[in-house]
Structures are given as C-alpha cells and as structure tokens.
Amino acid sequence: MKQFILPAILISEIIFFTWIGDYTFKSPEDFLRYFQSYSADLLTQSAPVLLAAFGMTLILATAGIDLSIASMIALISCVMSSFDGDVSFWWKAVPLGLLVALVLGLTNGSLIAVLDVPPIIATLGTMILFRGLCFTVMGDLEKSPFFDVPGYEWFGRFPGALLLISLVYLGLGAGYHYSRKKRELLMIGGNPIAARYAGIPVDRRLIQVYVFSGFMAFLSAVCFTARNSSVSGSSLTGMELQVIAAVILGGTRVQGGYSSLSGTFFGVFIIAVLDEGLRGAAGWGEENLPFKLSYLQYVLIGIILIGGVWMNTHLPFPKKNAKSS
C-alpha cells in the first residue's frame, strides 16, 4: 500500500490543479492537447532537478548530503558556456564539462571519504567555493552559446529530456536494484562500522557515489542549459534545497540506510506539479482567496513535505504478508 501514497498525492494534485487552473476545455481533443503540452513542460522543467535528485538519493542513502549540488551544476554550465556555440562545442565544451563534473564530484568525495570531513560541512564549503568559481569564470556576464549549438537544444526539449531521464532512471534503477551496490550503500548509511566489517570498501564506494553525483550534475547541467540557453554566475541558487526536499519527500531517509529512487521520481514531480499548478491558477486565486495565490505555494510545499514524510513513515498500512519459511 505504502508505495501508492506518493502517486496518489501526485495524481490528486494534478486533478485538483487542472480543475482550478485558468484553462477551460472545449473538447476532448483540446483537453488532450493541453495535457500533452502540460506533461512536456513539466518534464523539461523538472529534468535538471530530477537528474540531480537521483544522484542525491544515492548520497543520502550513504547518510551523506550534498549541499553543493546547485553550485556544481552552475559551475559546470559556466565552464561549458565559455566555448563558442558552434559544432565544435560538442567535442570541446561537452567533454570538458563532463571532466569538470567528475573532478568536482571527486573533490567532494575525497574530502568526505579520505579526509573524513563530515559531508554537511564539506559540501557547505564546496558550495561556497564552487559558487565563487562560477563568478570567477563568468564575472558579471550572462553567456548563451548553448543557443547556437546545433542539436543541443534537443536535450532541453520534450522527447530529448524524456529520453535522457528514462535512460538514467532505467539504467540506474537496474544497476541499483539488481546489483550489490544498493545494499552496500545502504549498509554504509545504516551502519558504517558494520559495512567495514562486512568487507565493503567504504571509502571507495563513497567516492564513487559522489563522483556519480557529479556525473548526474553534468547531465543536469546539459538539460538546464539546453532549455534555458544561458547561464550566469548566480544561476540555480537555492536549487539544492529543492533537490533535497524532493528526495526526502520521496521517502529517502536523511539519516541514511533507506532510499527510494522511484520515491525521488515522484517527490520531484509532486513539487513540480504544485509549482506549475499554482502558476497556472492565478485567476482562480484572485476570485477565491483573500490573499495572493503565490503565497500559498510556500505553505503548501511545507505541508506536503512534512505530511508526505509523515505518511511515508507512520501510516499503519496492513503489512503485506511476505512468504516465510
């Protein structure tokens, strides 16, 4: 039963916001068309957050956290933006962006695994550092070479972003669920001492996880720049909270030891649908509320976060009877 909570929240959200939204449907085709472009917008908007959140899920599973994720994505985008927007972008900027992403991930990972700095402090530090580097790279400029790169836009568009997400989700899901990795990471998160005793190379795994998160940051940066086509030093500030909130809402435990990729998937979309719904219902708000609708966004996100986690952990659903021998 438990795994239906998040989808149920999501679907009821969609229904509710479609109902109060500023759009009246004239015909079934009209509805279908609206819904298609709605899904496409939602998906392309959330792609950067979703990809980053997948990386974050693994990090939280190991009882770590990465506050630097937004700065990291911004920095990767900034580095990529310093190249010209032509075909050569594909073999110059993109590989360099990937390299930078892996190096940044490695930096976080080695700080945490090798130097034993607590994750929250290490990544708080790198968050400030990476942001500083963003401004060093960019100065006060806003650059947009992405706009002119042939074919690049595809990743910010509907089928491209969807394809990327599906590949990542399926690949990651399969790799995570059907290999030892998931169990190892969760054991590291749940009890690092026991993990060491169980012969898990804890330090190596931690570094791998942060480097992987760096890779996801790279994909996220690609989706972000392909969609928004420009970047500046202050891009994406505050995104780390969105990412972390979505992952937590998805049921991954902040103290480590339990994670859920599909939960993250729904977590991201629950927040995105809420966001989109409030954006599209300004007219309804004006008529029915004594205050501005946008204020409600803060309140609702807070309630959904607390309520979602509470339902995830506390609702007394009948425990399904597993086969026992």
């Binding site: 607590p118 402090i121 205050f291 807070g302 309630i303 607390i306």
Partner: protein
Amino acid sequence: MTSPWTVNLKSRLAGRYSRFLLQRIGFLLIGNAILLILIYMMIQEGGSFREVVLRAGPNVAPTVLAGFALTVIIYTGAIDLSIGSIIVVAGTVFGVLSAQESGPIVAFVGCLITTCVLCSFNGWLIHRLAIPAIIVTLGGLTFYRGIALILADIGMENFSGFISITNESYQWPGKKLAGFILLFGTLTALVLEWYSRTIRHFLALGSSEEACQILGLNPGAILQKAFFVSGCFLSAAALVYVTRLQTIEPSRMARGFALESSVPWWLEALIFSEVKAVSSERYWEHFFFIL
C-alpha cells in the same frame, strides 16, 4: 605559591566542565584573539579599529542570539532550520501591529510571543509527528514564510510586499539597545550553561533518548522545554532583527538565517569532530561576521 582564590576558581571551573572542555574554551579564546589581531592588521589606514569592534556587537546581535537558540536545540540532538522563517512571521506580526498604530510595546510583545509560540510549536510537531527535526523544520522553512505573507496580506490593506516602519519609536530595541540585548542574552546563556540543570537535561536527551527515558526523565517534555527556551532566545533575536529594519519584506528578509547562525556549529564540528560545545563559542560568530 597558589593563592586560595585560584584554587577555588580551579575547582569551581573543574566542577562545571571536564578538563577537555576547558581546554577547548581556552583554544577558542586564543583563536578569537588571533582573529582580532588579524582584523586589526587588515584595517586600512585611517580606519578605526575601535569602531569596527563596537559596531560589530549590534550588527551580529540577531545572529548570535539566534545562534544561542540553535545551540539549545542542537544540544537535544535536533535542529531547527526554520528559525529564519519564524523571524519573518514575527517581523510580519510586528509590522502589521505597527502599521495599525497599536503602540510600540504591543508590537514588541506581539513579535516576542509569536516567535516563542512558533518555536514551541515546532517542538510540539517534532514530538507528536515523531519524524526527524530536520524534515519538520525544512518544511517549516517554507511554511512559515508563506504564513507570514498571508498574514501580511490579510492583516494590511493594500499590502504591496513590504511594510514600512516610519515611526522611530518602534525601533529603539534594535537601534539603541541591540548591544545591551546581546550582552544580556549572552549573560543569560552563560548562566544557564553554567548553573542550570535543565541544560544538562537537554544534553542528556542529545546523547541518548533511551537512556533519558530509562533514567526517569520525560524526553518529550525535555524536547518541548528545549524548544521553548530556544524560542525565548530567538524572540530576542527576532526583536533586534526586526526593529533594525526600515522596511519589513516578508518574502525576502532573513533568508539563509539558519545557515548563518549555525556556521559556528559546523566549524566547531569540523575542528573537534563532534557536535558538543558551550555557548561561549558563539564568539566565533562575532568575528566571522566582521570578516
């Protein structure tokens, strides 16, 4: 030759803290002294060192007071990320009251009570819902800001994103008394830290909830108490913060406040690789702020 006084002092100090902690305080004092010297050297020609130090007090007052509030909560092993947003609600209440010309005292009291109540409410929520404090307060972070905006919109006619405080009489706690409030808050914190059994209970809860229960304490009540005490400190912080502002903008004020106030904690944890400190370490804050 050791005078009786020093012996007395030694035993008294040792009574309160283990040697380990005393060493640490010593380290911090030295660290602060070094920072002070650094700042002194960094001041450019013609700048006044005295002025920097004097001005720093009132400037950091809200952060330091909020730091005390956070300290109390961190003692119990919880955390409160929503303190910034709570200050926003308090500020909004203050702003709305002052806009309605309800008199400075009423506005101040409204601000203090709001903070205290919301902080205690956080504690209650964490206890009742039994989910980690970090999640509850992460939710609170956005929730309270929304509440503040709605309050302002309903409480004021023609609310246009900000409440302007034009009457000087609404501003004396922040502008005139900030230093004193900080001093008073610090003294209270120190006295609590050194002479209070309650604080030890918070620490006990932080080290082991189960042990607390077995030893005959009530963890829920302690948590609630901790959030209340924290609320008291935070309300002082809120008062100073709010009354130093010319305009109150619920959507933008006090952003990143929780992070700012907890910086010393992270540093502390980084240096000593554990979260366990005494309030006097708040001085860190002071100096980092000037830098």
